[in-house]
Every structure is written in C-alpha cells, then in structure tokens.
Symmetry: C2
C-alpha cells in the first residue's frame, strides 16, 4: 500500500508529521512518499501542483494532505495560487465525493459558540459533490455583457451545471452512507430558483427508489443554513452540490467550535481518496508548534477505513484520540481551564502512546 | 403617498393587518390599496403575480408585502408557484438592493441558540444584491450535456453573471450604509473559484476609492458562513451577491433566534421599495392568531424611513416595539417563562397603544 504524503504550507508540515508518526506505529507495511504541494509546490517547481506531485498522487493508493496557502503566495495570479492544487487534485483524481463529518466530542462540548443543549452530541455527515457544479463549469470568464440593461459593459460569468450521472453517483454515496447511520438523508438544493437544482432534486428523488429504507427530505439551501443554526442535531446525513456544500460544510464544522478536530475524505468511484483536515493552513501560527494535529490524525483514520480497508486500525486511532481527550490533553485551540495545554508534538506523542 | 398592500398567503394577511393598523394611527395621509399575490394571486387570477397586482406595485410609492406560499400550491409547475411573485416583483420593479438587518433585541437575548456572550447586542446589516446573479442569468435549463465524461446525458444548467454597473450600484449602497454605521464593510465573494466573483472583488475594490473613510475587507463565502457562527458581532455591514446573500442573510437572521422580529427592505435606484418580514408564510400556524406581527410592523417602519421620508415616524414605531418588548409581551415564537404570551392582534394593539 502506497500513501502519498502532501504536507503543503503553513501548519501543514507540522500536523502531517504527527499523522505520519501515528501511521508508523500501527505495525503495517505502508510505503509513504512525500511531495510538495500548494505554495511549497510553487516554491520548488513553479506550480502549486507540480507534475511529480500529481503523478505520485495518481500512483498512490491514498493521499494524505495537510493544508495549503501562505501570505507570500496571495499576490500570485489565480492559476498559480496554492488552492489551485486542491482543485487540480480533485479534478484529476476524480474525487467527486467529499465526506465531512461534523462531530462534537463530549469532552469539548464547551468549545462551541452554540448552547450545549443545541449541539452536545452533534454527529452529522455532510456529503458534498466535489468535481462538478459552478466550480468547473464552462464557459466562464469576463466578457462583454451581451444583453439587458448593462449591455456592452464588462461582466464576469460562470456556468453552473450538473449532469444526470454526476448527480446519480453522489446520491448513491449519500444514500449508502445514510444506510450505515440513522437512515435519514436531507438533499439540499435551490430547486425554486435554479434549473440545475430542480434537475438535481428530480434525480435524487429517482435514486431514492433504490433505497426505500432511507427517509429522504428535500430542503432549500437558505433553509438548511437556518436549520443548521436552529437545530443542527435534527440532521443525519446531508447531500448537496459543490458550491452549497462548500458553504454548509464549513458552517457545520464551525458549529462544533473545534474545527481543529474535524477530518475529511474526498473519494473517487473506487474509494481511492484524498484525506485532509477540515481546517486551513493557519499561517499565523505556523512553526510555533501549537497547531492541533488531531484533525489530520483522524483524517489518517478515515483513510485507513475508506481507502486502505483497515477498519480496525481506524477504530484504534479514533479511540486513541478519544483517550487523550479524556486525559484532558488540549492544544491551544481547544484549551479551557482545568485541562492540560500541550503542543503539536506532545499531542501526537500522546496519541502514539495511547495506541 | 400611495402604499400597495400585498398580504399574500399563510400568516401574511394576519400580520399585514397589524402593520396596517399601525400605519393608520400615525396621523399621516397614506392611501393604502391591497391586491392578491402569491398563492392568493393564483387563486384569484390564475397567476402568482397578477397583472393588476404588478400595476399597483408599480404605481405605488412603496409596497408592503406579507409572505407567500402554502401547501396547496406546492405541486403547481414552477412558473405558477407563489415564490415566483417575489422574483417577478424584484425584477419588474428593479429592486436590486436588499437590506436585511440582523439585530438581537436585548430583551430577547435568550431566544438565540448561540451563547449570550456571542450574540448579545448583535447588530449587523446584510446587503444582498437582488436582481442579478444566477437567479436571473441566461441561458439556463435542461439540455444534452455538450462535453466531458457525461456527454450526451441530460444536464441542468444555469448562468451566474454580474455586470460592472450592477456591482457598482450595490457597492455604492453598501459603502453608504457603512458610512452611517461603524464604517466597516465586508464584501463576501468566492474570488478564488468564480470568475464572476473575482470580477466582483475587483469592482468593489475600485468603488472603495470613493469611500476612503470606510474600512473594506474581502472574505470568501465559506469563511463568512463560519465567522457568522464563530464571532458574528465582529461584522458591521456585509455586502454580497444574490445567491450567497440568500444563504448568509437567512443564516444571520437565525443567529438572533427571533426571526419573527426581523424586517427587510428591497430598494430600487430611487429608494422606492418593497418591505417584508424576513420570515416566511408559516402555513402551519396560519389562521390561529398566534403569528408574530413585529417583523411586519418593523418593515413598515423601514418603509417610512427609506421610501416615504418619514424618519421620525419610523423611530416612533421602532420605539413602540421596544416598549412592548420591555413590557414583557411576547408572541409564542419568542415566549419564555416570566413573560406574557399574547396573540397576533393583541401584539398589534399593544404597539398601537404604545404609539
Ligand atoms: C480553497 C477552495 C478552492 C476550497 C473550495 O472552495 O472547495 C476550500 O474552500 C475547500 O472547501 O476545500
Ligand atoms: C422564495 C425564494 C425565491 C426567495 C429567494 O431565494 O430569494 C427567498 O428565499 C428569499 O430570500 O426571499
């Protein structure tokens, strides 16, 4: 089993180092190979997704990704900016299914800005389509406005689109995920305004026929953003498009108050995947040794579960993380009075020890 | 001064009746004329926005709108569904600037699902562009997918677009609103992915030159959705496009826990406007006399301020609302132990009395 390790920028290398430490003590024969990505890719090879990095990611059985982005790359032209590496990896590897759990660990119930009774025990799964929608639709650009009151002016434009097969395959992923949980799926769309999402609703409704044991509900995206604030625990699994999923999955993760704890998986049709923490590269705290490595370690656990067929190893890591939380160990982002503040390495070491 | 009164469906007629009562005791010479809209428009004339209703709205100096939508219209084809009336009014009246305050009244601090320290004193203003973006962009529809892996299948598609002048005029509204408040504007976009919103960012940055006294910050929409959960009080004014604004303004209003209190204004280039509560038609409680009329009454206050040049009357109404809250009167949606539960009419009467 070959794992591509792409640390990236900011806190990426520090947190990835802890996940690698964890992988190395499992007693498995993994081949780990690293390559630069994002700003580090640009610095090394003039491109955020260097050819060698993409080739490695393609050849590997799974990709463990840190985070990308740092101040010095902010002024580059868009095609060279770090986040293009993420978009390029998703598209080139066909990683169409993004799984974003939003879980509030009981030990961290106070971390949320929401009242404990609203979020304690929160455990929802957001499934975001990741290779379609307005993210990649053509045509797009800046052109002369062809009609209407602003005819002749410049206008920016993009194309939102979803083909039937694209919707079907993400719907299957979502219904199957719901089957393994509480059997309730909320499909989020904007069918009252968008043709793309009326079509989305029609296709999801059709796929539902194959999953009669799952209760399907349709919800408009504006309402979903409200319900995530009002009563987030009412959800089980949510599925939506790339753009709405970008917004809602970040909103949902912030409900927990501990985004430093949340992993993510982005899967292709054969369960090959890219695994990364839900948080960003946090350049402001990079190199200080204080970043929380748990989201990355839990991403490695997801990798073991989904791509490497090592469910028990995944369980072991997840239990080890719960154990260190119960021991009261906290990085700065989740620290509260009465717990023990530790740095990135100490946290990684504690998980290794708990294993 | 002529005011078009469009009660609509569900609780619309009940809450509008209270706002009309309030308008009638101000001692002003307003001419009020009603017409059916939404489901009621369809029931009366076969269309959610009947010709006569649109003509009235066009002829009036301002429009006071209740809410639209009810179960029996859910199965109509999209073009005849109640919400098409809203889209039609916005487009036909050129109501491009939607002002959505999210205010947490101190008396209702407990209503929020967020911790008091996170939201008490919340007072943000979301300005949403309302006649452009993917809501109205052409082409759109369902077609044969022209290229890529799904070529030949059916696909749904829509066009996102913003012309320079469209961005400029909403940016001016936003900068001017910020000047009257804390002089901080957050422009929300997705410039890292969308051409439309890279263009948006460029134009907003350019308009900023005319408002050097306002601090401008650009923020990605996914981050904005997170910051609204993490630290909503850090915002002053937010401005964004139609689609992102739909999501974020609803999310923000739910932060207060009292969406029954929140008014909205939708303005054209000459400050003619449509005023409506931020909440919906709530068909489940329609006719029960328990709906909260305060958002509609406060919408009437916004109407007096923005379209009818009666700032003092607006102040009077807003103070009257604060007064009844201080008296402890609450409709069911904002009721808590120790306060006095009242119905829709009683609440309207209390505001009238406070005036
Ligand atoms: C960096 C950006 C392109 C990306 C996205 O919008 O998908 C990020 O926000 C994410 O959610 O992974
Ligand atoms: C009903 C719908 C078309 C409308 C919108 O999306 O604009 C509503 O959600 C709103 O925000 O007023």
């Amino acid at each position: 089993m070959k794992i591509a390790i792409l640390p990236g920028d900011g806190i990426g290398p520090e947190i990835i180092a802890q996940a690698v430490k964890v992988l190395n003590v499992l007693g498995e024969q993994f081949e780990l190979e690293s390559a630069p990505v994002g700003g580090a890719g640009y610095a090394a090879h003039g491109h955020p997704l260097p050819e060698g990095t993409l080739a490695l990611a393609k050849a590997a059985d799974a990709v463990l990704f840190g985070a990308v982005g740092d101040y010095q790359y902010d002024t580059l032209e868009r095609a060279l900016r770090p986040e293009q590496a993420i978009l390029g990896l998703r598209k080139n590897l066909g990683l169409f299914a993004n799984l974003r759990p939003a879980i509030l660990y009981p030990q961290l119930a106070n971390a949320s800005t929401l009242k404990p009774e609203v979020v304690s025990g929160l455990d929802i799964l957001i499934i975001r389509e990741l290779t379609g929608d307005i993210y990649f639709g053509q045509p797009r650009g800046v052109r002369e406005c062809p009609d209407g009151a602003f005819k002749g002016q410049r206008e920016g434009y993009d194309t939102m689109r979803y083909a039937e097969g694209e919707i079907r395959r993400i719907a299957h992923v979502a219904f199957q995920a719901a089957q393994k949980r509480d059997k309730r799926l909320t499909s989020v769309d904007k069918a009252n305004v968008l043709e793309t999402f009326q079509f989305w609703r029609d296709i999801v409704t059709d796929v539902h026929k194959e999953y009669p044991d799952v209760a399907l509900e349709h919800m408009y995206v504006d309402n979903a953003a409200m319900q995530l604030v009002r009563a987030p625990k009412k959800f089980d699994v949510l599925v939506t498009g790339n753009m709405f999923g970008d917004i809602l999955s970040d909103q949902a993760s912030m409900l927990t108050g501990s985004i430093g704890m949340l992993p993510s998986a982005s899967l292709d049709a054969n369960n090959k995947g890219l695994y990364e923490p839900s948080h960003g590269s946090a350049p402001d705290i990079a190199g200080k040794g204080i970043a929380n490595p748990l989201a990355t370690i839990l991403s490695a656990a997801m990798m073991l579960r989904y791509s490497l067929n090592r469910a028990e190893q995944a369980d072991r890591i997840e239990n080890a993380v719960k154990h260190v939380l119960s021991q009261g160990l906290r990085t700065a982002d989740i620290y509260e009075a009465g717990t023990t503040k530790v740095g990135t390495e100490q946290m990684g070491d504690a998980v290794v020890k708990a294993l």
